[in-house]
C-alpha cells in the first residue's frame, strides 16, 4: 500500500546547525504515530517541514506519492495536512467561537463569498459549537481568546485543528500545560478520532504514558536524525532511547 505520508532524506539547516538531518520516514494511512525526542531534537521543525511552514534545504515530502515541494503551507492545508502549534497560536481578539468558526469556514468552500452575512451559514456555527463541546470549551464560547488561561488556549488550539477536519493531523504537544484533570478528556478526544479510523495522526508529546497508550508506532528523533522507529514496546526497550530521552525516569 502506498504510504500516505513519506519523507526522503528530509533535511534543514539553520546556519551551520542541522535541525533535521536526512530523515526518511513513511507512514500508512489511518495510522497513529508518535514522535518523541529530547528538546531541540527537531520534532517541531519536522512538523514545520511537513506542513510547509519551512522549506527543506534537502529532501522532499510526499503526500500520497505526490511531491509537496512546490506547495505552500496554505495549499498543503487544503490538500489535507492540518496542524496544531506547540506555542499557542490563536486569534487573540476574536471569541473562541469565531476562532473555531474560521477553521470550519476554511474547510467549507465559502471562503470568497463576499456578500452574504456569515450568520446565514448556520451550519458553520453549529459545527463550530459542536467542536467546542468536544474540547470542553462550551462555556467559554463567547470569551475573547486572550482571556483564556493557558490550558484553555491549548484546548482551543486542538479545537481549531479538529474543525479543519484534515486527513492528516499533526499534533504538537497538545496537552502541554493542561491540567491533570483535563488531559484525560483531551486524550479521549484524540482516542475517539483514532477510533473513528479515518484520520492519520502524528503526535509529538513528552508524556510517555499517553504515547504508549495511544500509538500504533513511535519514532524517535535525536539531534535531527531518525534514531528509531517501531512499536511502543520496541522503543521503550531501546537502550539508547532510555539514555538519551527518558533518563532515569521511565514513566509513571
Amino acid at each position: 500500500m502506498e504510504p500516505i505520508l513519506k519523507t526522503t532524506n528530509l533535511s534543514i539547516k539553520f546556519g551551520e546547525h542541522k535541525a533535521v538531518d536526512g530523515v526518511n520516514f513513511e507512514m500508512p494511512a489511518k495510522h497513529f504515530k508518535s514522535i518523541i525526542g529530547p528538546n531541540g531534537a527537531g520534532k517541531t521543525t519536522f512538523f514545520n517541514l511537513i506542513s510547509g511552514e519551512l522549506e527543506p534545504t534537502e529532501g522532499d515530502v510526499f503526500l500520497k506519492g505526490a511531491s509537496l515541494k512546490k506547495k505552500s503551507s496554505v495549499e498543503r492545508t487544503r490538500l489535507g495536512v492540518g496542524r496544531s502549534f506547540q506555542i499557542t497560536n490563536v486569534f487573540p481578539n476574536l471569541t473562541v467561537l469565531e476562532n473555531v468558526r474560521l477553521a470550519v469556514q476554511s474547510k467549507r468552500k465559502v471562503r470568497f463569498d463576499m456578500f452574504r452575512h456569515f450568520l446565514q451559514y448556520k451550519n458553520i456555527t453549529a459545527e463550530a459549537e459542536q467542536i467546542l463541546q468536544q474540547v470542553l470549551l462550551t462555556d467559554k464560547m463567547h470569551q475573547v481568546a486572550n482571556q483564556l488561561s493557558h490550558g484553555e488556549k491549548r484546548k482551543l488550539e486542538i479545537g481549531m485543528l479538529l474543525a479543519l477536519d484534515t486527513e492528516i493531523l499533526l499534533l504538537d504537544e497538545p496537552t502541554a500545560g493542561m491540567s491533570l484533570e483535563e488531559v484525560p478528556a483531551i486524550l479521549e478526544v484524540i482516542r475517539s478520532i483514532k477510533e473513528r479510523g479515518d484520520k492519520t495522526i502524528l503526535l509529538i508529546e513528552h508524556k510517555m504514558d499517553m504515547i504508549i497508550d495511544l500509538s500504533d508506532s513511535i519514532m524517535v528523533l535525536f539531534n535531527g536524525t531518525l534514531l528509531a522507529d517501531g512499536t511502543p514496546k520496541e522503543i521503550m526497550d531501546n537502550e539508547t532511547v532510555q539514555q538519551a530521552y527518558l533518563g532515569g525516569l521511565a514513566y509513571e
Binding site: V74, F91, L102, S106, K107, F112
Partner: protein, 338 residues
C-alpha cells in the same frame, strides 16, 4: 444561539432614522452651506470607510490612500472636462477611476503586501508620493499644482440633488461594505489582522485576501474622489497629498477602527469640528489659533476614547452589562458588533 441578522433590527431602524434626518435637514433648513458641509461630510465618510477596510478590518496601515482618492478625482475631472459635463461621462469616469484604482492596488499589493506594518505603510507612502509627482508633472492633462475647473453635469448643478446623490452613495457603500465585512470573506480579513500566519495555516491564501481588501478599499476611495471632484468642480494636486490620507486616517481612528460606522462618525466629528472651530476664530479673535484646539481634540479623543468613539462606547456598554451581572453580555456584544 446567536440571533440571525434581521433587516428590521433596532440598529437598522436607527440608521434609517438618521438617514431620514439627513435628507430632511438641508431641505428644512434651506441652507446651502449646510448642504455643502453635509456633502463634504458624506464624501469623507465614504473615504474613511474605505480606509477602515484596510486599517480596521485587515490591519494594514497605508500612508498612500490619497492616491486612490486622487485617481478618482482626476478621472472624473478630466472626463467631465474632455467629454462634456453629462451624467453619462460622470458615471463612466467613476468606472474608469475604480478600474484604475483596482489595477494600482493589485500591482502594488502583489509587490509588497507581504511586507509587515511600517514597511507596507512606507511603501504606500512612496508610491503615492510618486503618483503626486506624476500628477504634478503631467501638466498637459492635470494642469499641475494649480489644477483646473470644470463643469458638473447639469443635474448636479443643484447642490441639493448632488447632496442627495452623495448621501445615496454613502448609504449604498455602507450597506455593501457592511455586507462585505460580515461575510465569511470579511471574517478572514479580521483573522488576518489578528494573526496572519495562523490564518495561512488554516488554509487561507492571505495575500489574495489582502489584495482584494485593498482593491475594495481603493475602489471605494476612488468613488469618494470622483464625488469630491464634482462637489468642488475643481481639481488640483491637493487631492493626492498626504493631508487627504491623514484625514481619512484620523476620521477612522477617532470614530473607531473596525466598526465601519465609526469612520462615518469620525468624519462627522472632524468636518464639523473644523468648521465650527474655524468659525469661532472669525468671531472671537482668541481663537485665531484654533488649530491648537483641533490638535487638543485629537489628544483628548485618544485619552477618552482609546478605541475610537464607537469602539469605546461598545466597550463601556459591555462592561456595564457585565457589572449588571447579565450573563448574556458578551453574547449581546458579539451580536451587536456583527
Amino acid at each position: 444561539m446567536i440571533k440571525q441578522p434581521s433587516i428590521l433590527s433596532k440598529t437598522n431602524l436607527f440608521y434609517a432614522l438618521v438617514v431620514g434626518v439627513m435628507i430632511v435637514l438641508p431641505i428644512a433648513m434651506d441652507s446651502r452651506t449646510l448642504t455643502i458641509l453635509l456633502t463634504q461630510f458624506c464624501i469623507f465618510a465614504i473615504l474613511a470607510m474605505s480606509y477602515d477596510i484596510l486599517l480596521g478590518y485587515t490591519g494594514i496601515i497605508s500612508f498612500g490612500h490619497a492616491m486612490f482618492f486622487g485617481v478618482g478625482a482626476y478621472s472624473t475631472a478630466i472626463m467631465l472636462s474632455d467629454f462634456g459635463p453629462t451624467l453619462g461621462s460622470f458615471m463612466a469616469s467613476i468606472v474608469v477611476g475604480i478600474v484604475l484604482s483596482s489595477l494600482i492596488s493589485i500591482v502594488s499589493g502583489a509587490l509588497t503586501l507581504r511586507l509587515k506594518n511600517h514597511f507596507y505603510a512606507m511603501f504606500t507612502l512612496a508610491i503615492s508620493g510618486l503618483f503626486l509627482v506624476v500628477a504634478e508633472k503631467w501638466r498637459t492633462v492635470t494642469k499641475g499644482n494649480d489644477g483646473f475647473t470644470f463643469r458638473a453635469p447639469e443635474f448636479f448643478r443643484e447642490r441639493l440633488y448632488f447632496y442627495l446623490f452623495v448621501l445615496i452613495c454613502l448609504v449604498i457603500v455602507f450597506i455593501l461594505l457592511k455586507r462585505f465585512v460580515s461575510s465569511p470573506f470579511g471574517k478572514v480579513l479580521v483573522a488576518i489582522r489578528e494573526n496572519e500566519q495562523r490564518t495561512r495555516s488554516l488554509g487561507f491564501k492571505t495575500l489574495g485576501y489582502k489584495i482584494i481588501a485593498s482593491v475594495v478599499a481603493g475602489a471605494v476611495a476612488s468613488l469618494a474622489g470622483s464625488l469630491y471632484a464634482v462637489s468642488l468642480r475643481f481639481v488640483n494636486t491637493s487631492v493626492m497629498t498626504m493631508d487627504i490620507t491623514l484625514d481619512a486616517l484620523m476620521m477612522t481612528i477617532i470614530g473607531g477602527v473596525g466598526t465601519l460606522i465609526g469612520p462615518i462618525i469620525g468624519a462627522g466629528v472632524i468636518e464639523f469640528a473644523q468648521h465650527y472651530l474655524s468659525g469661532l476664530a472669525r468671531d472671537y479673535p482668541i481663537f485665531e489659533r484654533w488649530i491648537i484646539f483641533f490638535g487638543i481634540l485629537y489628544i483628548l479623543a485618544v485619552i477618552f476614547f482609546p478605541r475610537g468613539i464607537v469602539g469605546t462606547v461598545y466597550m463601556k456598554y459591555q462592561e456595564w452589562r457585565v457589572k449588571r451581572g447579565r450573563k448574556s453580555a458578551t453574547l449581546k456584544f458579539v451580536e451587536e458588533k456583527e
